[in-house]
Symmetry: D2
Subunit: 239 residues, 4 copies
């Protein structure tokens, strides 16, 4: 299966403190560990690419799109957003990571505000499995720890998920539905909270396994053409 | 409670064959039967009004917005859509009628394509209750008939509803999830299929009762201010 | 509306350390605060009553049943369980508190194992609202604290809830979906985690408000007779 | 994967008019077409077998259980039901066919009444896909016809499904959610309406494909041991 890992990758992600953790950008780190799985072919794309890295040609060869964005959400054009939303409805899987909760495709696909509260205090988080037996939890322990992460807190501005897969405990007293699934017609959507850019979260073995699982779970059953509203003028039964 | 009934009400709805059924526009018919309920104060708004009838001032005094639109969806501005979506997320109830399945606020709130197939053959439809005991079904029989309606058919391009309240049988061999609920943060959303502009559907007593029920069900528990992402810099517990 | 608060109230709940907190049993404490609401008429019933306190006559006059049980689950007869399950399906609201996650009616209505892990360490818990704008959260702050409670932890053995209303943070590192709703045909079901028998939880003002809200939310839209499978021998349309 | 196809297979299913269609019982017909799939190993079991065909040993070697029952539901013992329910919660997939909507394991797993109305008139039914892109719909057309089937009608006494996969149109004017999914902890559950014993439904190629798809979809991600409530006496974090 073909995966595209998209990252805004603007100057904010080329700063020393991010580059120390993800020298070639976190999209390359994510693509690297995905490519270690024999069933996955992962490429990367960034905002500065032609057509913002998400041309029809790129999307034609994408089964699952992984999205990381943060401070450049507003630079993603409406055309790009429309292409992505359309593809998800037609079968492409979509994994939103961390601050992508405020990305345009997330807001458009979920009809959500994406609101939450947050804290950058490098605090400890424990990620608990709520949906036992979900494919995304395959091989994942009942709970695991990330020593230092940004805190995201409820209330989280999303519609009721199809399934709440993970719930996070934060040292500072907060909780968050950190792994949630949605279905948008032919396409599956997963949001996963961990991944602040100055923390080595995407080097964490269990985090990597969750994302690999999610990508596989989101593989399209089928990808279809444009979804329109045909006139079924001929009734199936006598009127 | 204050209800605003919005209709695009362009030339297409002032044609003879529509005006014969809804002389002052179907928004006025809907507002009229809503106003017969002592708990409801319904006003109307149309696309040609200033700010497309949905200024902040109007929305400030709207607890539930009822939407009918068909051939002028594209004329609704992005600003209007954003105001409506924002209000729903903050608590305003929203009832989408019939061809509003392709209106911009519907597509934006549900992240849906709204696709379906249709047939204008004035065929018979039977509307069945699937969600027994739902407030929207209060006083509604197990099934009821509309003699002549436009057919809308599955597959319907929506996310899995919170509850599937009604399912319609069509004479020509089709079925449709004709009443479905969603929750978008603080706001409740209901889509209801009947209501082709040349059929007297909104004069049908049971249809009226469904819409009255839906409006009451969608009344906000609370309406809140803008939903943002505050920095919860101060932890609740010692780090 | 008529509420029945049921408690097993065996010797285990008459021990000194429970009686110090709930002198007449926690059912009486719960009924007392419910009765302070002008719309609610609450009575109590216990396992030692005739027909285990839940005769057809009692259920005839019960709109919402509140259930607390712990160490005597197995003494509740299959007949009692069947009566309760049947009534919920026919419209009676049902509120399960705390250790009722292993009560027979809970397991029967949800088809669940009710599994979880627990700890009696009188630790601090913070209860967060996940479902903003839900009627059960009316007037409830975004999060509130119970200083000393029994810990219940994910994974929680329940089907995916209709809505996840509350999620709890525990001092010892655990999280729990502490407020979840379900719909069982005509009846609404709410589970709420707080309420260990030696903690003064049901004297906590916000906990009381949640339970009052839940009881009102669970009020039947309609109560119906037995749900059977009639032969609709006469077709509605010509075959 | 190992599949067990269970059928009550009492005298009622050995009558001439059933045996004409399913000479060795419909369980053998179902097992036969399942066994044509190279990934599936299907065996059969019937009520008259030792331990009603569902001993712990049989269940140990069952990944997905397919259930057909009708007039002998009451003969299935509580012990058998408990074994089945327990296995589903621990990961075994479960496919309920046709009149299994009143079987004890169905009622126990869903906490449902299973009510519906029905008609034996050999009428035409059209089965529509509602959940586009669901694995169970792989290769299934948007709608297909069964010429002669028993009619089952809404309202259907089930909790809100995880996903409504199929909705049926009946010639006589009824509709029915004929394919619905549920998740019971580790196990997946699918109900599929077609399959009256005197109609050749299980010889219908598309019906067979749906059941093959459903069995594959229901394959356990993992099967686990008994689900209990351990004392997590040792906190993960300092109290």
């Amino acid at each position: 299966m073909n995966v595209t890992v998209w990252n805004e990758y603007g100057d904010a992600q080329k700063r020393r403190e991010v580059a120390d953790v993800y020298p070639r950008g976190l999209h390359e780190t994510i693509a690297d560990f995905l490519n270690r799985d024999p069933d996955i072919q992962a490429k990367t794309a960034v905002l500065a690419n032609p057509e913002q890295g998400l041309s029809e040609a790129v999307l034609d060869h994408t089964d699952v799109l992984v999205w990381w964005g943060h401070v450049y959400h507003h630079e993603v054009s409406d055309e790009t957003v429309q292409r992505v939303v359309d593809r998800v409805q037609r079968g492409m899987g979509m994994i939103f990571l961390h601050s992508a909760h405020k990305s345009k495709p997330f807001l458009r696909l979920l009809g959500a505000s994406g609101r939450l509260s947050w804290r950058e205090a490098n605090e400890k988080t424990r990620i608990w499995t709520a949906a036992s037996g979900h494919p995304i939890t395959r091989g994942i322990p009942e709970q695991f720890v990330i020593d230092h992460e940004e805190m995201y807190s409820e209330p989280f501005g999303i519609p009721e998920p199809l399934q709440t897969v993970f719930i996070s405990w934060f040292q500072g007293g907060n909780v968050f539905r950190s792994g949630v699934t949605f279905k948008k017609e032919y396409g599956k959507v997963f949001y996963f909270q961990p991944g602040h850019e100055t923390n080595p979260t995407y080097h964490h073995e269990i985090v990597q396994k969750v994302i690999v699982n999610a990508v596989k779970w989101a593989e399209p059953v089928i990808k279809v053409g444009p979804l329109d509203c045909p006139n079924a003028a001929q009734p199936l039964e006598k009127l």
